[in-house]
């Protein structure tokens, strides 16, 4: 690295969530670097809403996000796998019965 000093001062990473329009929830659109939350919001506006893609932005420090591990995905999500009775299609309904 020619700029070890600068690299050490790398701005933290923020994850960006945008509400595309009223009535929708915020969705993840990407990430960016910024020194603080105010600059992260401004950068997110310039980077992810140049064409009116949003009406509201959240920025979250990437290090604040806890995620499930892909390695344990089977074990972690297994409890839901054998409970097909949670879906309406599990149940048989006699012919001719409507609105059910």
């Amino acid at each position: 690295m020619t700029e070890a000093g600068a690299s050490a001062r790398e701005w933290p990473l923020w994850e960006v969530f945008v509400r595309a329009r009223r009535g929708l929830s915020h969705g993840h659109v990407g990430s960016l670097h910024a020194p603080d939350a105010a600059m992260a919001l401004r950068n997110a506006r310039d980077l992810y809403t140049r064409r009116q893609e949003g009406v509201s932005i959240w920025v979250v420090p990437a290090e604040a996000i806890s995620a499930s591990s892909p390695d344990e995905k089977d074990a972690f999500f297994d409890p839901a796998a054998d409970k097909v009775y949670r879906h309406p299609t599990f149940y048989s309904v006699p012919d001719g019965v409507e609105h059910l």
Binding site: M1, R9, E10, S31, P35, D36, M39, D46, R50, P70
Partner: protein, 332 residues
């Protein structure tokens, strides 16, 4: 603006780690046309190949700001100037989407920029050509961005999720870039004889470099084969180049401009336009650093980065100060 395919001839043509093809889960996911996400297990060579390609693509976007930035202060009208600024800003945005995608693979943006600045990473050779006249803004938008779109649309289905998602955003924005370029050339082509000649000159200079943006011919590009097996690449260099030629020839006719290839002809049996032979020795000269603007582009990039250091430092210092003030307040 543009994807991968530069790199030194050695890099383009080398095989590496063919043995490391991934475990059964990874291969099953790829074969089912599934998407690989950042924290999944993946072969080291898959990760390295993506980092190299995405970083090179990101570098191309930000270096690509220079040839057009050159004309912002001399755009012929306020409207053209506003459009060009929006386009150059988009290129910066594309670079940032791509650096963010690369970072999901476990590298730091600062590390990638450092590799660009020290010449260890390449960017697309197309940006080592000069922009001599205003008509070059048209030719870049129409031909260079047009070629980039043909290259990039298949990457929206790339097996690596973050790269594919970044490319969806980029492709949406590129279509404005290509149309504004076409419009510039159309206006010039239908203007005075001098304006028409300027448009023709720009097309004459940019046509062959645009064809070379698709990379070396298939029989000289063995890395492509592995990238296709891994779902990083969907079509071969020659297939994409042909697609671009077939799209572009009728557009040139609509512009009233000629393409500088006396051998260009429509092949009735295949339904494709055939070009004359492409002189790839020129491409490799430019990649090797001997293009008209290689040194200037790198000097400008390094200079801009160094001159921006105080801004980055000041913003970090302000954030530190603000953070410690908040912490003190919380204690009180």
């Amino acid at each position: 603006m543009y994807g991968d395919h530069s790199g030194t001839p050695e890099q383009v043509w080398s095989h590496d780690a063919y043995a490391d093809d991934g475990d059964a889960d990874f291969l099953a996911l790829i074969q089912a046309d599934g998407r690989v996400e950042p924290r999944d297990a993946m072969p080291n060579a898959y990760r390295a190949s993506l980092v190299r390609q995405i970083a090179q693509h990101a570098h191309s976007e930000i270096i690509g700001m220079q040839p057009e930035g050159n004309w912002i202060s001399r755009a012929p009208s306020l409207k053209r100037k506003a459009i060009l600024m929006a386009k150059v800003q988009d290129e910066a945005g594309h670079g940032l989407y791509l650096y963010a995608a690369a970072e999901t693979l476990g590298v730091d943006r600062s590390e990638l920029l450092d590799k660009l600045h020290t010449g260890r990473h390449k960017y697309s050779s197309i940006f080592n050509y000069p922009t001599l006249t205003w008509a070059d803004m048209g030719a870049i938008g129409w031909l260079v961005d047009g070629a980039a779109i043909v290259n990039q649309v298949p990457i929206t289905r790339c097996s690596y999720g973050p790269y594919a998602r970044a490319m969806v955003r980029i492709c949406k924005e590129e279509s404005f870039h290509q149309r504004q370029g076409f419009e510039i050339l159309h206006t010039l082509s239908n203007g005075s004889p001098a304006q028409h000649a300027m448009a023709q000159d720009a097309v004459d200079r940019w046509w062959w470099p645009s064809l070379m943006m698709f990379g070396p011919p298939d029989d000289a590009s063995p890395n492509s084969e592995r990238s296709m097996r891994w779902g990083i690449k969907r079509f071969s260099n020659d297939e994409l180049r042909q697609r671009f030629v077939d799209m572009t020839v009728p557009q040139a006719q609509a512009l009233g401009l000629t393409l500088p290839d006396p051998e260009l002809a429509y092949d009735d049996t295949t339904g494709h336009w055939r070009t004359g032979a492409i002189d790839f020795t020129e491409l490799f000269e430019v990649i090797a650093g001997n293009g008209p603007c290689n040194a200037a582009r790198m000097a400008h990039r390094r200079g801009a980065h160094e001159r921006g250091q105080w801004v980055r430092d000041a913003a970090a210092a302000y954030a530190d100060k603000h953070r410690s003030a908040t912490a003190t307040g919380a204690v009180a």
